[in-house]
Amino acid sequence: MSSFGKKSFINRFCILILSIALALPVHVMGADAVVSQSLSFGTIDLNPGGDTITISASTGPASPLANSNSVITGGRHGLITVTSLVIEHVDIIYPVSVNMVSGSNVIKIISIDVNSQYRAGGADTLGGGIPLTIRVGGKIVIPPGQANGSYSAQIPIILNYS
């Protein structure tokens, strides 16, 4: 092999190695997502006939509303804050339902997606370290005779960046 041929081979080999190395993920997820506010349905003085409580946060901040006159104190939408240096697209996947429990008693949270932001189409982060806020709501259907108590749950929310 001539000197020129050796150099050409080395050149191509180096390019190959670098190409492989660069083919590794170059999209580094720079976004930082944190839960900055929990989802709270408040303290509910329940209508003895039961009630449906909805936090409709799909278009912005929301408080719990009762369908059948239960008296609600406090409560608010949940909040996720996503911060990134560059603009990234994020798709958000909410669970279909989540059980809140108090001992052996259960209240199911449903309709999380329709009552939350960016369920369809996702959102673009703002970049530049500017926070994007994602409000989370939901609905609970409380039957007559639901036991008093403090109910809680953990809602897993998936953020897919692309």
């Binding site: 997820m29 408040g42 003895p48 006939g49 008296v71 403090s150 953990q154 953020l159």
Partner: protein
Amino acid sequence: MRLSKSLVISVMVLIAFNVMVLPVAMAGDVTMTANATISSSFTETVTTDLEFGSIDLNPGGDTIILDASGGATTAATIANGSIVTGETSGLITIEHSMIISLWLSYPAAAVTLTNGTDNIDITAGSIATNSEYSSLATAHTSPDATSDITVDVGGEIVVPAAQPDGLYTGTMTITINYL
């Protein structure tokens, strides 16, 4: 030197190529706490028992009716002239803090009152007939969020001739249905 320039240019092209065509989707999960506190404040209390009173019975027997379907009463309807004193309809009081709607299910069967040996029945179906809000069609909605709801309860007893003297008591279950 020419080789190095070529290498650098190639690498730059590859970097651009990789950046443009090899985006990688990445996932990040968050877990959000959700909570609610249920604290029902309404109460249901039997404020006054249903009392058919002291009956100085007509020897031929009698029918005593306490009709509370339109509200509380302390005056029985007496079919055969027995002398009755101290009678009063029963009263259920419901405290609440919101506007609520309800109706009540009264015993359909006869309710037996006994002195331990002998019995008198509250006639089957008569409690619903002589009490308030006894069907879905007559459901009651509280006029405001805080005023107590009161439910007056009546009934009918048929006392046969020669019913032994004594204090007759019994209990019954009334179900309050909230809408």
